[in-house]
Amino acid sequence: MLEILFYEWKRAISRKKFIVLLIVSLFFEIAVYLAVYLVPSERVRVLLTPLYPYMWALGVLLPQSLLLHFLAISIASGSMSEEYEQGTIDFFLTKAITRSRFLAEKWLGSFSLLTLVYLIMVVLSVVFSYGFFGLQQDINVLPETILSVLFSSLVFFNIAFMIGEVLRRSSLSFIISSSILIGSVLISTVLSFISLLTHSPQYEVISEYLPSWGATQLPFILLSSSPFSTLIQALDLIPTTSTNVIVAILSVLIYALIPALLSVISFLGRDIPKKVS
């Protein structure tokens, strides 16, 4: 058991696209902390000082806005599609491996890799925040925050996984999934802006139906009443007025489960073609 899961790790790590994104992500973590630590303006430094005990949240939550979703898309878009493109799917399915086991292990392998990368980012955040800004507070909410971030990342992870399975083309899957993410974030931002200008909450409500809403908002909503809510608001790149956790969880669930279900239907029901590229 789990041979495919470990194979999936190895396969993903061997891809240059993934390595580049990983390096960018880790560099991003370091750069963010260095930027805050070395801020030249004394006035800004005075403003930031009360937030120093909560700086761990900076590196933990900032990737959630966009970067982590790109990482999720990068890993998931090629998970199934590259097997078709390289014709390696025959290697597994002509052994005593059921299609459902193959799909489940591929999914688990990809998602556990994303989890691992995110956990590395979290460790770096904690280390840098202690190192640069001293003792950290309210770190007890870290596990809950990590879980909410990973749960939220399921939306674009599953969308990319599904598109990869259905279209069986990795580049197309990456482009379409990224376009959905960017498009959804942009529309959401515009709707929030219109809502703010017109004082009409219905625009805000419309944005809540977009896949990016729950995916980018849930961890921020969960921490919105924390002692460091000022920092949370600053980190939320796509701020919204709604603080309804249940709606955010439902949004993530719906947008994560539907693609997952479509992936299962597609993979269990369709023929496996000969190498497609």
Binding site: E3, R11, Q86, F91, F92, K95
Partner: protein, 296 residues
């Protein structure tokens, strides 16, 4: 061991396999031949559960492989132009396969040695030539000493010396009781190895039987005679009523007959005092194949 019954497969409404049935018994070497696009690989992929047929039933070792994939523990498969994980080394591919099949790792080194790849086993598959990949694929299929082998054009890309070795290896496996289903364009392999041949054309089985019957059906009975005084033999043979045509081919005489009277012909030659060094049926599979396809 493998049974496919009444297989129908359509692509975009067009039937690519029409009521095709195939049977591989224990210890039997069965070849599936036919031109490109005839439906050979589609049939193999249906047997391997990669493609679902519209109609028909497949059983492997008496079980439906679509419902019970455990039967694949007893099956090795060599893909046409094998696609192995390119980022892995040959050895890693075999280790992965050994893990999935529950086979001891020691077997990997033995098989690498058997296919002459020990020296290159730590090189990435992406850096292998076609022939090297094919060798690893053959070793991979043989892991766990499977009862059934499905070979989809296993000789593509490999050099003539290894090709000969592969033929000997398959022959040995057959003699040891393995059941083998092979698709191939290498008719020499088909002729030398097959117990049974299925000829498929435009999704239909044109012929099922052994090589001799195939040649008889599409080429008629042709006997090769080797001996001295070929001119005299030729004159004698030409006078026999069941002989259609006689012609010389180098130091051999090719006798074409209207019906299978090989025994009578040999008896007549011996009784007439001719010195015969060789007397055998001409199994010109290439010619028979070509005639079968052009007449279809």
């Amino acid at each position: 061991m493998i049974e496919a019954e009444g297989i129908v497969k359509k692509y975009n409404g067009k039937e690519v396999l029409s009521n095709v049935s195939l049977n591989v018994n224990k210890g039997e070497f069965v070849s599936l031949i036919g031109p490109n696009g005839a439906g050979k690989t589609t049939l193999v992929r249906i047997i391997l559960t990669l493609i679902k047929p519209e109609r028909g039933l497949v059983t492997i070792l008496g079980k439906n492989p679509y419902k019970d994939k455990s039967v694949f523990k007893h099956l090795g498969y060599v893909q046409e132009l094998p696609n192995l994980p390119p980022f892995m080394t040959g050895r890693e591919v075999l280790f992965l396969s050994a893990k999935i099949k529950g086979v001891k790792k020691e077997e990997v080194d033995e098989l690498l040695d058997l296919v002459g790849m020990s020296e290159f086993a730590n090189r990435q598959v992406a850096k292998y030539s076609k022939g090297m990949t094919q060798r690893i694929a053959i070793a991979e299929a043989l892991l766990g000493n499977p009862e059934i082998l499905v070979l989809d054009e296993p000789n593509i890309g490999i050099d003539p010396i290894f090709s000969l070795k592969v033929r000997e290896l398959f022959d040995k496996l057959k003699r040891n009781g393995s059941s083998i289903l092979m698709t191939s364009h290498e008719l020499e392999d088909v002729r030398k190895l097959s117990d049974k041949v299925y000829m498929i054309y435009k999704g239909k089985i044109l012929f099922e039987g052994n090589v001799e019957d195939l040649v008889k059906k599409f080429l008629g009975i042709q006997v090769i005679i080797e001996g001295e005084e070929l001119e005299k033999i030729s004159n004698f043979v030409s006078s026999l009523e069941y002989v259609k045509k006689v012609f010389k081919e180098g130091k051999k005489l090719v006798v074409s007959m209207s019906e299978d009277k090989r025994e009578e012909l040999l008896k007549a030659l011996v009784e007439s005092g001719f010195h015969i060094r060789g007397f055998y049926m001409d199994l010109n599979l290439e010619e028979a194949y070509s005639r079968a396809i052009s007449n279809a």
